[in-house]
């Protein structure tokens, strides 16, 4: 019976986006699938992946960082030594170490480097596998992108089809859910801007229920939004910011008609539950990288020249990507769905799937990278043996740009052939 371990030490949204890989592993005959994750996400993981064996470790820092150093050391060592001992005692056929983080590299020290994919620790040296190296190269062309859920899933030789990951989205009658994200984040719409969109959606759709979702940190923004809404909508508003545990969040989101959200964990949860998402992607958010997974979702994607940017770097353009969301025409577009009314600087994308996984098709607004993205997906499909693309000059140029000498000069378990057989030359067979 093969045992697989997936190490996913990142946050809420990343945990949900690990689904395609986990489903692919669970689909193997008699496979036992284990997931190592931060202890704060165990309750959620139980709901998302009830048949997966969970291995919580203490990885996140929010609470612990406030403790004195010796106390931090005690907590981290006490909890993690026990968890690591348990992990080291299981003979995993393969370990998928997903996050490019020093914590993941160190955790990989527990395992035979040959069995680890992604981020490997070998005799004190951090090593990045070829698939991840390739991703680093294409991330220089962010607008073409590959959904992170698919990137992780393609560590597997033949992941489950994208259409089988999440149910086709369909409203459940519980009204509109609005996800309030962190106020500091450039990715989120300020309450005033959000209020205009919420008002329009409620008026257009005739929803008689409005639920605000978020953590305690978003309470103030939620109150501000409430103040900005017309009385008729404020009266039906239910503010659940900071009031939901994982179980109740799943229950609430699972009953909604539509979720209006920036790029958040709750957005991925809604997609997981098959609840339609209307996402606002601006600043560093790019739907081809982290858009809602599955069919039936829509993204309002800022497309000004500097998007997508890096959230960690200061914005020198006065957050110009927010402008289209402040334009009253966006409300007009939502009311009429007439592309002529869509303000410039934004594209409306409908979620879609293809042989590689999740993708998006422009419904209104420009998508100048569409052709290049198509060829890029052909290139990746060929690389992954997921299907041949039409021969083209652009495909050849992508191969030249994205492959590096090291990819074929030295053996690599993640190379296009190595990922199937662990060998570096097809002539041997």
């Amino acid at each position: 019976m093969p045992a697989y371990l997936v190490i996913q030490l990142a946050r809420f949204g990343d945990l949900v986006q690990t689904k395609r890989l986990l489903l692919s592993l669970l689909g193997e005959t008699e496979a036992e699938v284990h997931l190592c994750l931060d202890e704060s996400l165990v309750a959620l993981a139980r709901l998302l992946y009830p048949t997966v064996h969970l291995h919580p470790v203490c990885a996140h820092g929010t609470v612990l960082a406030k403790l004195p150093p010796a106390e931090q050391a005690r907590v981290l060592l006490e909890r993690n030594v026990t968890a690591f001992r348990e992990l080291a005692g299981i003979r995993f056929s393969r370990v998928y170490n997903l996050n490019f983080s020093p914590l993941n590299y160190r955790l990989a020290a527990l395992f035979d480097p040959q069995s680890v994919r992604g981020h490997v620790w070998q005799n004190g040296q951090e090593i990045v596998g070829q698939w991840s190296r390739l991703a680093m190269r294409w991330s220089a062309m962010r607008r073409i992108g590959l959904n992170i859920a698919d990137f992780w899933a393609w560590h597997h030789a033949s992941p489950v089809p994208a259409t089988e990951v999440n149910p086709v989205a369909k409203g459940k009658g519980g009204g509109l859910g609005v996800v309030m994200a962190g106020r500091e984040s450039r990715r989120s719409l300020p309450p005033k801007v959000l209020a205009a969109l919420v008002t329009a959606l409620l008026d257009i759709r005739g929803d008689d229920a409005l639920v605000l979702l978020g953590s305690k940190a978003e309470l103030q923004a939620a109150r501000q939004l409430e103040r900005e809404l017309p009385g008729r909508h404020a009266r039906v508003l239910k503010n659940l910011c900071g009031a939901t545990g994982w179980g109740s969040l799943v229950d609430v989101v699972g009953g909604l008609d539509l979720v209006l959200t920036p790029d958040t964990g709750t957005m991925h949860l809604a997609a997981h539950l098959g609840i339609p998402v209307l996402a606002t992607f601006l600043s560093s958010a790019w739907c081809f990288e982290t858009g809602p997974y599955g069919l039936g979702h829509q993204v309002l994607q800022a497309n000004i020249e500097c998007a997508p940017c890096l959230e960690s770097q200061p914005c020198t353009a006065q957050v110009a990507c927010l402008q289209p969301f402040m334009d009253t025409d966006i409300v007009r577009y939502l009311s009429t769905l007439d592309a002529n009314h869509l303000p410039s600087g934004v594209t409306v994308f409908n979620s879609d799937t293809d042989k590689l996984g999740q993708t998006f098709t422009a419904k209104a607004g420009p998508d100048p990278q569409s052709e290049l993205r198509g060829r890029f997906r052909d290139f990746l499909s060929e690389h992954l043996s997921a299907g041949q693309g039409e021969p083209s000059q652009m495909l050849n140029e992508l191969a030249e740009r994205l492959y590096m000498e090291r990819d074929w000069m030295v053996p690599d378990a993640e190379s296009s052939s190595g990922r199937f057989s662990g060998i570096s030359s097809s002539i041997i067979t």
């Binding site: 820092g61 981290l76 060592l77 690591f84 001992r85 020093p102 160190r106």
Partner: protein, 419 residues
């Protein structure tokens, strides 16, 4: 520790590493010899010399960059380079810019290996095995921190052995020499063949008189076998090398490592007198000669007086163990660096590895320190590096310590909680 790609200073670099560890320091070694086969492979290309030189230089740049990368990650208090270490001047400048103190122990004859003039000014400390003249020359090119640091022995390696009868037969003789076939030795040793004589080491080819006495077909002798030869020989000849054969006993200045190594084995040697010898050994701690005639007389004398041999060897060993070990040399070097380099070593805000932990965890960490041969006072940072030097899969505690270290870098430092 930056080892050389190859050569005589390589074992010395390894002895220094062991000594520094014995002194309780955490040492990360740059294993330059691992890079040497690739360098040599370039010579099999059969290309034009300009192309070959370009490739050689490019490769050495890569090697030097590797040293920098290691230094950047390890953040050492000192980069200690052995003679011939693959550190380019560009790399030395970079280390200086990054505030990393550098030292070279130049264990070569400065008159023969003149290239030191090119790079010595780029080191913070330059240690040499000679005095006077080299000090003046170093001063002239701007090297203020020059240190006289004679060679030494490593008592864990160079020690008295109980040899089997077979080993005594193989390695023993009345008189022997272990070393390379330099010009002065080739002439001098012709007079020794009248004894029960064995010649060990390399570069003795083409000498019809001596060739029959060369052991193991002139193959390189391992450090372990050298020690056996020293132990099994009644009179070890130790004639310092010279590239000329006009003057066989040159009376030069530096003392070769063999002098200290044979003495540390409590073996007997007849060594040619050197200018710097009196401060290293008293007359009754070492049997010396100043000419070939004197050597012949003394061989005859000491072969006939085993008790005198034993007494001198015992006193010589005592002196080496007291003063001339690599541990002593490294202590001297570090003291010198501390005196000459202002603010060295930089104080680091560090927790002791076991500090503040509950008893059970502290006990586990203490046991881990024991396993890694680290003192109880080891800092958390040093423990992390010692774990990182381990090969293969790590245990849960080692992994948890590495994980904690990275966790602190990610979270604790951001919130100013770092200890």
């Amino acid at each position: 520790m930056v080892l050389p790609l190859y050569g005589g200073s390589l074992p010395i670099g390894r002895y220094c590493t062991a000594a520094l560890r014995q002194l309780g320091h955490l040492v990360e070694v740059f294993e330059a010899p691992d890079f040497y086969p690739s360098y040599k492979a370039l010579h099999g290309l059969k290309v034009g010399t300009d192309r070959l030189q370009y490739l050689e230089n490019s490769y050495l740049q890569v090697v030097s960059q590797s040293v920098l990368a290691k230094a950047e990650t390890f953040e050492p208090d000192l980069v200690l380079a052995q003679a011939q270490a693959p550190l380019t001047i560009q790399a030395l400048k970079r280390l200086k810019r990054d505030g990393i103190t550098t030292a070279m122990w130049f264990v070569e004859d400065f008159r023969l290996f003149t290239y030191w003039k090119g790079f010595a000014p780029y080191y913070d400390v330059f240690a040499v095995i000679q005095r006077d003249e080299i000090f003046k020359e170093l001063q002239a090119i701007g090297v203020g921190n020059a240190l006289y640091l004679p060679l030494a022995a490593q008592p864990e390696v160079h020690k008295p052995l109980e040899l089997s009868a077979a080993e005594i037969r193989k390695f023993g003789s009345d008189v022997s020499f272990m070393g390379a076939g330099y010009a002065n030795r080739r002439v001098a040793f012709r007079d020794l063949i009248r004894h029960d004589f064995k010649l060990w080491g390399t570069e003795w080819e083409g000498d019809s008189v001596l060739e029959p006495y060369v052991q193991m077909a002139g193959a390189r002798v391992s450090s372990e076998d050298c020690v056996k030869i020293f132990n099994a020989t009644k009179v070890n000849i130790n004639l310092h090398s010279s590239v000329q054969a006009k003057e066989l006993v040159t009376g030069g200045d530096f003392i070769n490592p063999r002098t200290f190594e044979i003495a540390a084995c409590r073996a007997f040697q007849l060594v040619d007198r050197r200018i710097l010898m009196p401060e290293a050994f008293a007359d009754d701690e070492l049997a010396t000669f100043g000419s070939m005639e004197e050597l012949q007389d003394k061989i005859a004398h000491y072969l006939a007086h085993p008790d005198e041999r034993a007494a001198i060897a015992a006193r010589g060993q005592e002196r080496v163990l007291r003063e001339h070990t690599y541990c002593a040399r490294m202590r001297t070097l570090l003291d010198f660096v501390g005196e000459r380099v202002p603010g060295w070593p930089k104080q680091r805000a560090s927790l002791q590895a076991v500090e503040g932990l509950p008893p059970e965890l502290a006990q586990d960490i203490s046991a881990l320190l024991d396993r890694l041969a680290l003192p109880a006072s080891t800092s958390f940072e040093d423990l992390v590096w010692a774990i990182r030097q381990q090969q293969g899969r790590l245990g849960e505690l080692e992994t948890a310590v590495l994980f904690l270290d990275e966790w602190r870098k990610l979270y604790a430092r951001k919130t100013g909680q770092d200890g």
